[in-house]
Amino acid sequence: MTLARLHSGLALLAQFTGEHNSLHPAGPQASGIEWLYWVVFWITFAAFVLVVAGFTRAAVRNRSSTSEMLPLVRDLEGDRRASWAVGTAVFITVLTLFAVLFMSIITGKKVEGLTSKNPVTIQITGHQWWWEAVYPNTQADQTITTANEIHVPVGKPVVILTNSADVIHSFWAPSVHGKRDLLPGYSSAFWIQIDKPGTYAGRCAEFCGLQHAHMGFSIVAEDQDTFQRWEAQQLKPAVEPNSSETVRGRQVFLTHACVMCHTIRGTDAGSRMGPDLTHVGSRRMIAAETLPNTPGALAAWIIDPQRSKPGNKMAPNLLNPGDLGALVTYLGTLQ
């Protein structure tokens, strides 16, 4: 098997769902790390083969199959040669480690070295168990607030600012970049860039409690025009209800527990405990990428959020079918 075929075979084995793999990079950060991965992989693979070969050779060389107790051996000439061999092997090991260190540092610098003037800036705040994403602006009414679905322009550097509202989370989209912890009491910043349009999945990577497993997000990378259209759309206040059903839905929202935690801009609901729902209808998924944003899933989620995501902070809502239908329809219109 040639090296290249083996390489592609291994890549195939570490195979790929298209959007969620450290070895399928979508931007300069992840591809820089991927390059380093394969370099270090082949170095360690070579080391593995050499050491295993050495032990195998050593084992078969003087193997004795008798279980009798053999006399002791003393081989001064052999020990002298072994000293040279061990010395050489240690020397090569040290050189190899230096090579790994060097490549690691230059890759680190390259990955972190991205800058740009006026980048898109996104403030990510980790919550148990969802992601708040704010696109800050000096003017308050130009600030976008959304949850779990992050939109970025393709080919442009983006700054991610991190923070946590409760425990430690870790922001990780493997195809985009390595992970960065969100620590309460600390804020940090890092750059990402995505060069291929598409949707890239991410997850929380630091254990954060009961629903750590269901704390996903996605990064949607789209061309500049689409991104700007999305921005403009997100800046608008919520769509006004235009039918009796949606009016009733909004009424249900405002008169039930929903308002305790959620915001719909343009209404009286203004709590920041849970995700901002002003444009919830525009999102592909709900409950931090746990369920598809379909009327059925949304209704099931509202009635009993503890079923699909036990332990999460949203309480069950005992709504009658009419109210529930109206609420789901209303939320669906919030594009």
Binding site: L70, V73, L97, M103, P174
Partner: protein
């Protein structure tokens, strides 16, 4: 010290046996302070915790075998992985590899009759046992610790884990660390003071070097985890604010302190494995180890460097790049001493006469598995790669390769090697081979697969995953390996009980090994050595002169041992060891009451201190005088 001709010694044996006899019966069990008994207890208890931790692992693999599997919910899953990790690290790996093997073997290999501070040593066993029971009682009462074996704040803190869950964990830490520290002091003192005359530092068997280095690592590392678990406990019980960012506390302080302990801990677990390797390999290659001095240097270097790499567990926290590069360099540097040891073992095999008996077979398993773990460790040392694979199943694979490779494979090698000494009977070879191949295959199926899961984005500590992630095939494969591993361990247990009663009698030295524990009968008598030996080389039995002198002049009617100096093991004075006693057990109970009480009320420490002080007084209060008054002398 004159050289004379020894008088026939056969009449001494009954006197020595009476002097060193440990009380029998139910209450006698709690009074035993002999190192062979306590060492075996550590090993048996730790092995039981290993089995329990393995059951938890199997439940987790069952849950993860298919997507959205409903075997257990998130609450129980979190408790299970927390207790699995805590059990394997604190209740199995260290107590087995350091305390168990160390307490049993060190005095024998030193050529002495008991461990230093035998009562402290017995006390350490009881507090360890109580700590383990405490953690498991929590789990069985469904209030098990659930914030991970590392219990990061603020998740484990008062706000996000109300109730007593994290407190059980934090106090379990205190128990096990008090135990490890007590044993470390006993072992280090034994090595530095009780070595047979002639066993100079330069001739000290490698296993003693490693136990000494590990003891020192325990002494400097364990205080960190005690400090941090106490900070956590105080934050939870008396409202201190160490980790509350709102009032000047800091969540990273916890991580720094925890990993300042946590990384040396890896070497505390792994160095005993290399100690077993350096002991077993020469025996089955029928030659002295190649590279004694480089190996000693490597072990000491590992022990020291282990304290300089803790930040590599925190690369994703966003520390300054300069400091991250420093810790990458330190982490890569620590590869060198391990590589040196590997090459020396390879040279020993190369220029020896290999006999692939059971312990050696497990050694080859160790080489293979640990090598993979070490190489994936090189990947993890690189900051950018670490950002990708940290906290994923890649890391799960990595540290199981390191810990199972570095501790469990050598442990089985060590068990197959020393069980004949402990029980007096050989283990069955065929069953041992079946055990090896089942375990080796199962292990690699389960854990090699996890590398790919990690690269494909599966984070650690998730109780389930959706089918849309396409992780199910690899997960099912990983789970299937558990069956092979479990079968292998069952074969081992069957082999043990079968061999214990029906195995071939081992005799004093079935392997033709060179260290002093093989000079005594199997199992060793209560006094270990009828005549304390002297030593003429690194492998005392191989290098002994035809008429190697023995030590005489120790009193037989009181439990006396010979104290030698640290460097040249020149005889210094005679030391009387305390007899069997119930007080270590009572003190352990008093300490346990105080610790557990303090979970529920801070006053537990104050009131609990009174019985602790009382039992310690009872422990240390002298009873009677020596048969003949001893004359103090400045030595």
């Amino acid at each position: 010290m004159s050289q004379q001709v020894a008088v026939p010694e056969s009449t001494r044996e009954p006197i020595l046996a009476r002097t060193w006899r440990q009380p029998g019966g139910f209450w006698g069990w709690f009074q035993n302070v002999h190192h062979t008994a306590i060492g075996v207890r550590f090993m048996v208890t730790a092995f039981i915790f290993f089995l329990l931790g393995g059951v938890l692992a199997a439940i987790m693999r069952w849950q993860l075998a298919t997507p959205e599997h409903g075997v257990i919910g998130p609450d129980l899953y979190n408790q299970i992985f927390t207790v699995h990790g805590s059990t394997m690290i604190f209740l199995f790996a260290v107590p087995m590899m350091f305390q168990g093997f160390g307490v049993y073997l060190v005095p024998l290999i030193c050529g002495t009759r008991n461990i230093a501070f035998p009562r402290l040593n017995a006390f350490s066993y009881y507090v360890y046992l109580v700590g383990g029971l405490l953690l498991w009682a929590g789990l069985l009462l469904r209030t098990g610790a659930d914030a991970g074996w590392f219990a990061y704040v603020p998740l484990s803190g008062p706000e996000f884990t109300p109730g007593k869950r994290s407190d059980f964990w934090a106090q379990m830490i205190t128990f096990t660390e008090v135990s490890a520290l007590g044993v470390a002091v006993s072992i280090a003192t034994t090595i530095l003071r009780y070595r047979a005359p002639g066993m100079t530092l330069n001739r000290m068997p490698l296993i003693l070097w490693e136990k000494l280095v590990i003891s020192m690592a325990v002494i400097f590392a364990m205080p960190a985890v005690m400090v941090v678990s106490y900070m956590l406990l105080m934050d939870r019980t008396i409202n201190t604010q160490f980790f509350n960012p709102a009032v000047g506390g800091d969540v990273l302080l916890y991580q720094h302190l925890f990993w300042f302990f946590g990384h040396p801990e890896v070497y505390i677990i792994f160095l005993p494995g290399t100690a077993i390797a350096s002991t077993v390999i020469p025996v089955f290659c029928r030659r002295h180890i190649f590279g004694y001095v480089p190996i000693v240097t490597s072990v000491v270097a590992t022990g020291i460097l282990g304290f300089g790499v803790w930040v590599h567990h925190m690369f994703a926290t966003g520390l300054p790049q300069m400091s991250e590069s420093f810790f990458t360099a330190a982490t890569l540097m620590i590869v060198i001493p391990t590589a040196v040891q590997f090459y020396c073992w390879m040279a020993t095999i190369w220029h020896g006469r290999l006999q692939l008996m059971l312990p050696m077979l497990w050694m080859f398993g160790f080489f293979f598995v640990f090598l993979i773990g070490g190489l994936s460790g090189v990947m993890l040392a690189s900051v950018p790669l670490n950002w990708q694979v940290h906290d994923t199943f890649f890391v799960v694979a990595h540290f199981h390769y390191v810990l199972i490779g570095g501790a469990l494979f050598p442990m089985f090698a060590g068990l197959y090697f020393w069980i004949p000494k402990i029980t007096g009977r050989m283990m069955n070879t065929l069953l041992g081979k079946v055990h090896f191949w089942l375990f080796f295959a199962g292990f690699n199926i389960t854990f090699f697969t996890m590398h790919f899961l990690g690269l494909r984005g599966m984070p650690r500590r998730v109780y389930t995953y959706g089918p849309e992630m396409h992780w199910e095939g690899l997960n099912l494969l990983a789970s299937s390996g558990v069956l092979l591993m479990a079968t292998g361990v069952i074969v081992f247990i069957v082999n043990f009980f079968h061999s214990k009663s029906r195995g071939r009698l081992a005799g004093p030295n079935p392997w033709g090994a060179g260290s002093l524990e093989w000079a005594v009968s199997s199992p060793p008598p209560a006094y270990n050595f009828l005549e304390l030996p002297t030593v003429n080389g690194r492998e005392p039995l191989w290098d002994a002169l035809p008429n190697q002198p023995v030590v005489t002049g120790l009193r037989d009617d009181i439990p006396e041992v010979l104290v030698t100096n640290s460097l040249d093991s020149e005889p210094q004075h005679r030391d009387e060891l305390p007899p069997a006693s119930i007080w270590p057990f009572l003190a352990a109970i008093a300490v346990s009451v105080a610790f557990i009480w303090s979970i529920f009320s801070p006053w537990g420490v104050a009131y609990g201190a009174i019985p602790v002080a009382a039992t310690l007084l009872g422990w240390l209060w002298p009873r009677g005088h020596s048969p003949s008054p001893r004359v103090p002398e400045e030595v």
